[in-house]
């Protein structure tokens, strides 16, 4: 059960936000596209205009997703890391992307943050202003870096100059638990605090979509809880959150939807409890192991 409820509560948890059956091991072990990918195939000819934001998606709560990736494929040399995956995220939804190391999670998140372009496919983000201007996607890289000689507050003040809204840097630092470290040099922050500062940077300007790559990595258990509390609060405020994480306990409690990426495809996609039940596991950690192991057995 998730701690967080999406902006518009779903009536059926097993099809929360997507209205599609979560992919089961049997379904996804084959080379047939998942239900989601089949949807993408059907929409492939639509060629949505990125300027207009994501196309309305009947699978998404409220109709229009905050962000939609359609039929993304990408290869690094001969290694195909993404193979036609599609993902729509509704406002207020928390989607957790899980998968083995090297499964393409960070690559997918970079595409969602629009800092890299896939070989194929499109990413569209709903505009948040009346003029239809390009909406910002808040992004926390896997290893956030900063100019070491600047303080935490200096750093956020620098980024605040690039958004139209007035940014209360002290409030942002407070949100991520770094109020006491405002004047500390970034180079003197611990690894966990650096990650929290990266989260704060992603939140500058209150973006409607936030993409977090391993936000809990290197954090102590207390900080992990704190981080997922922040994520829940963001979703409660209507922010669409996509994150990757190996901390599956908090993911199971917090995420509205878990997407398991392996072999370049989504091998499961649905409410965490439904994913767990689909493989008859006790918890998400076990279900993840079963799903990935099954994929490896089938040679994908």
């Amino acid at each position: 059960m998730t701690d967080h409820e999406p902006t518009e509560p779903a009536t059926d948890e097993s099809i929360t936000m997507s209205n599609r059956e979560p992919a089961t091991t049997a379904e996804t072990a084959s080379d047939e596209p998942t239900g989601e990918n089949a949807d993408a195939d059907a929409d492939a000819d639509a060629d949505p205009d990125p300027d207009l934001g994501p196309e309305p998606d009947p699978n998404v709560e409220g109709g229009r997703p905050a962000i939609a990736a359609t039929d993304l494929s990408h290869a690094f040399g001969d290694v195909r890391v993404l193979d036609g995956v599609s993902l729509s995220v509704a406002p207020g939804e928390i989607v957790a992307l899980v998968g083995p190391n090297g499964s393409g999670k960070s690559t997918l998140l970079r595409f969602l943050a629009r800092v890299r372009a896939p070989d194929e496919g499109t990413v569209t983000v709903a505009s948040t202003d009346a003029g239809g201007g390009r909406a910002r996607v808040g992004y926390l890289p896997q290893q956030p870096g900063f100019r070491a000689g600047f303080s935490a507050a200096d750093t956020l003040e620098f980024y605040a100059q690039f958004v139209d809204e007035d940014v209360d840097v002290a409030e942002v630092l407070e949100r991520v638990g770094l109020a006491d470290a405002a004047d500390r040099r970034v180079g003197a922050l611990s690894g966990g605090m650096t990650r929290l500062l990266g989260l704060g940077r992603a939140l500058v300007g209150d973006p409607a979509v936030v993409v977090l790559d391993e936000p809990a990595s290197g954090l102590d258990p207390g900080m992990v809880e704190r981080l997922f509390d922040i994520v829940s609060a963001l979703a409660d405020a209507g922010v669409a959150v996509v994150l990757s994480s190996h901390n599956l306990g908090p993911v199971e409690r917090t995420a509205d939807r878990v997407v398991v990426l392996d072999g370049g495809r989504f091998v499961a996609d649905g409410d965490p409890r439904a994913v767990v039940e689909s493989v008859g596991a006790a918890d998400l950690q076990t279900a993840f192991g079963d799903l990935v192991a099954t994929e490896e057995v089938t040679g994908r």
Partner: protein, 273 residues
Amino acid sequence: MSGGGLDDIGDLFAIAARELRTVVRTPAVVALSVVFGLTVVAVAAAGSGARGGYVPLVLDLLPFVEALVPLLAVALCYRAVLSDRESGELDVLRTFDVSRPAYVGGVYLGRGLAVVFVVFGSLLAAGATVPVLSPPDPTFLALNEAADSPVAFLRFAVLAVLFALAVAAVALAVSAAARTARQALALAVGLLVAIVVGVDAAAIAGLASGNLGIDAVPLALAVSPNGAFRSLVLGVAVETGGAGSPTAALAGLVGWVVAALAVAVLTAWRPVE
């Protein structure tokens, strides 16, 4: 969020301010700048130039400036964009919709101002040794006292700044094009060798082999940043004349700046629509 025009200019200045603050807060860069300044002043004080007047001092300093200014400019700029790329800040800046011209322009402005401050400041300090060290009468290199004035030295300092900005732009292009620190270092060293001796050596070789006619010398000098700088100093600052054409030399330096910044803009990142 950037929407072009005024937003881009605001972004540019925000990035420039960050670059300037970064330079000031980097001990190695500060140390290098101090060493540069002390070296220039020491050369001025130790040589005979300062005792002869401003023009002799310019001629004394010219070879040192030709060698040291590229070193300083490259050191300050060759990792500017690369460090942002390596730390992931380049990716994050892109999520704030910062445009490539605004980013590259900001980095160039910030780092360029630091280079200008160090070069101009050091040369002014060197020039200040003339009134202290020179005798009341001009020496053999400045037979006409009227030709030896602080204005000549000031022109030299301004031209040195232009030269530094041209090399800084090329170093910035290196930092944008390089994908690894090793690549950036290799490119920077290659750049230094090419600027300090490479193009001049190629021109001389061309002349010697007959592949380059004597008429092409002004153009050949203008193509090399060092050659262009030397032509401008000899032709404009101290007015001793020279083989180069000041106009072609100035166009050469400006051309290096424009071409290098264009390369930096194009290679900083691949746009995602």
